[in-house]
Amino acid sequence: MAKLAASPEELRKRFGPHLQYAPPGGWADESRNPAEKLVKTHCCFCGQQCGIQLKVRDNRVIGFEPWEEFPFNRGKLCPKGVKRYLQSGHPDRLLDPLLRDATDFRKAAWDEALDFTARRIREIQQQYGNDAVAMYGGASLTTEKSYLVGKFARLAIGTRHVDYNGRLCMVSAGVAYKLAFGVDRSPIPWSDIPKADVLFIIGSNIGDCSPITTDYVWRCRDRGGKLIVADPRLNPISRNADLFLPVRPGTDLALLKGMLHVILRDGLEDKQFIAEHTTGFDAVKESVAAWDPQRVAAITGVPPENIEKAAYWIAEAERAIALHARGLEHQSKGVENCLAVINIVLATGHIGRDGCGAAMITGQGNGQGGREHGQKCDQLPGQRQLTDPAAREHVAKVWGIAPDELPQPGLTAAEIMEAIHRGEIKALLCMCFNPLISLPDANYTREALEKLEFFGVIDFFLSETAQHADVVLAGSLQEEEEGLTCNVEGRVIHIQKATDPPGNARTDTSILCELARRLDRGKYFPFETSRQVLDELREASRGGHADYYGITYERVDEQMGLFWPCPSLDHPGTPRLFEGGVSFHEDGKCRFNVTEWRESGDPIDDEFPVYLTTGRVVSQYLSGTQTRRLGGLVDIYPEPKLEIHPQLAVRYGIADGDLVTITTRRAEITLAALVTKTIRPDTVFIPYHWPGNKSANRLTHRTLDPRSKIPEFKVSACKLRKAEAQV
């Protein structure tokens, strides 16, 4: 039943993406009138969560004003932040619930749409069992909503299968930091970055993906800090690096092992720190013994002398920070990669002091807060484990149920889609997730969606995924509901409500609570405000690692953010973790972890000889559901291009602008070439924000990291040919 209701062209005509260029009322006229109020809040897009002031009039956001007092970004914004306000009053905005029959979407009343949703969920559960229904959440939701998704799936639907799109973002780092330190959070506030003497950035295209962090990187260099960047591409940050390591896709682990090899070979490690604050060093030392720079150079394509230099710079620095992001984490050895970074940081004693540390750069808006309070398949609020009897007891008590009523852990996001494809999961409720664009192997995802017996979506625009839905419940934009998010640093911040949802659209919280009522579980969801949800969340997280008990909207406003853990109302928050080298493990020690080298899940061979890697551009955000509707952003980078080095291009007779067909073991797509010397000649790059026959994720593969279950977006094998038809 989940095939498209109409042709993609027809759906595009009705639901967009249409390009919004001007504020409500137009540039010249109505929008010149002054705002009724300026709302101090944050950007709805990436994990930087920049402070911004929204101008509001007549229940619409009509513009913005930089918020220079907010300490993280000091008024700075990327183009997405500048144009985000144009979503308010966007013509594509869903103003009513939609119900679908065989040939069309039609507007529906809320009662009809909600009753239908609840009825279908229960019918399918009666026929196939409780776990035949799955729920997807998202990391752009506020922390309160993320918390509600976890509770709603387990208590209202009663399924074990709930997971979120952060599974495509932060989970490799999350697993690694839990293994090493016992907790999943960036250990440092960003104000530490300028204090470092050496900054090591690996697998992170900061200029495009976390633009505000650039400011911190440049401040570090102005203090005399040296910048090392490892990346297959010479991006705007790496072109300024003091040492650039052009690592071959999928070989970061070898590079990191080689660097640790040099440090230990030459006795550069911090022996005192290792002895006093760590466990597992000897096994790790043994595991890098065979990784000498010559061998590593052959695997990574990085000159051996530069591997040595990078190792020396980090080891000999008084203060060093390693920053990493999806380049490292989107691999089938994503967890190992992060652990290998941490091993270097531990071996050199660069943790728990100012200007020191390792940190993941969180990608999604609430990538941090959205992964703390229970929408992950194995997690309960407070970053507690769902399998931990004490955690179950605590949360069950807060929720007023018996611990046995809590389901056990279910499948992860990508695994849920596979279970749908296999016919084991029959129904899906999806909120804030556009898997048709963001999951790997998009044709497989489409086949899975088409098999669903019931597919419900809560969203504000009709995403490509939502076009497959049976019912779409018109939800709320970020600025239409109060709540908390947690930024890249672990700073909890306050999203202020600027407007009400327009038309008949409703807040996400009220939709979930109404649905719960119709599933006869309303007594567990009595929430009328976000504040009520937060109060319950504070109790549910209390005593956990991500302890929010001391966090209130008022305290966050007063202090311009509050770093968790914050266990009491007079606790100042915890900007830097592991001070003095003390981790969250019971013994307080930081743990070295042995990493095992293995090949990518989609290796190159004679038939598919070129590495394909995917990523982002600065003007688009994730699956583009929001940003492909904002004219100014689309103009900056209208559609995906294939980045290819001239040495590789010449082999296929490809000139700049030529259409090139890229084929992997799963699919082929055709894109225009951008011939440029800023990428390794054995690698091509495609940004992934677009749907259909321009979708990079038609090409990517479904190999997952065995522990984090993150897909390997960053390494595929492909072949190229100049397209037959050139436009």
Partner: protein
């Protein structure tokens, strides 16, 4: 804003075009961005440059204006052409050595960066320099800029013309002036020595 100066540093530009997008939000030219933005040579590098009007001490645009429409304020800011005077002849567009002014056909008027007069006059920094995430455009005090690796420079030499500007270009240490002599870039075989 007293004591603040404008600094342009393409080496720090990440090409995000936040400045381009934010400029069109300004009250005096809504919907029209006054930022000049270039990929220097995308086939060779990721380098980009975003720049505002350089606000010359002796503005070439004003010197060549036949309608006397381009004025310099007491604050040294070179304004857009005065609407009642501007005849949209494009002399300024052709003459400006930096390629800054634009004639907006629908307004029949030359418009350019006025360094956010509406903002700086009420104690706010220009929009582009406020939002720029990467310090490529900065509106700060000289003592803050002194902490940077690069050094400010504000003399540009174009052939025989030397131009001193209000806005500063950040240069690698040890560079005296920015030379942008067109002849240096020309293919010798085509026009021969006629230029020299």
């Amino acid at each position: 804003m007293f004591g603040y100066e404008f600094y342009v540093d393409p080496s720090r530009c990440i090409g995000c075009q936040s400045c381009v997008e934010a400029c069109e939000e300004c009250e005096t030219h809504r919907g029209v961005s006054m930022i000049n933005f270039d990929y220097l040579d995308r086939h060779e590098m990721a380098g980009t440059a975003a720049y505002v009007c350089w606000h010359c001490e002796e503005p070439t645009c004003a010197m060549v204006c036949p309608a006397d429409a381009i004025k310099v304020g007491e604050d040294g800011v070179v304004r857009s052409a005065l609407k009642p005077r501007c005849i949209a002849c494009s002399n300024c567009v052709l003459a400006c050595p930096f390629g800054i002014p634009k004639v907006i056909p629908e307004y029949e008027q030359m418009m350019k960066c006025d360094m956010c007069y509406d903002r700086t006059s009420v104690g706010k920094r220009p929009m582009c320099a406020t939002v720029c995430p990467s310090q490529a455009l900065s509106y700060v005090k000289p003592e803050e800029i002194a902490r940077r690796r690069e050094e400010p420079e504000n003399v540009f030499v174009f052939g025989n013309q030397s131009v001193k500007t209000r806005v500063n270009m950040m240069m690698p240490p040890g560079t005296d002036a920015v030379s942008i002599d067109v002849v240096d870039y020309m293919w010798e075989g085509h026009l021969g020595q006629a230029w020299k």
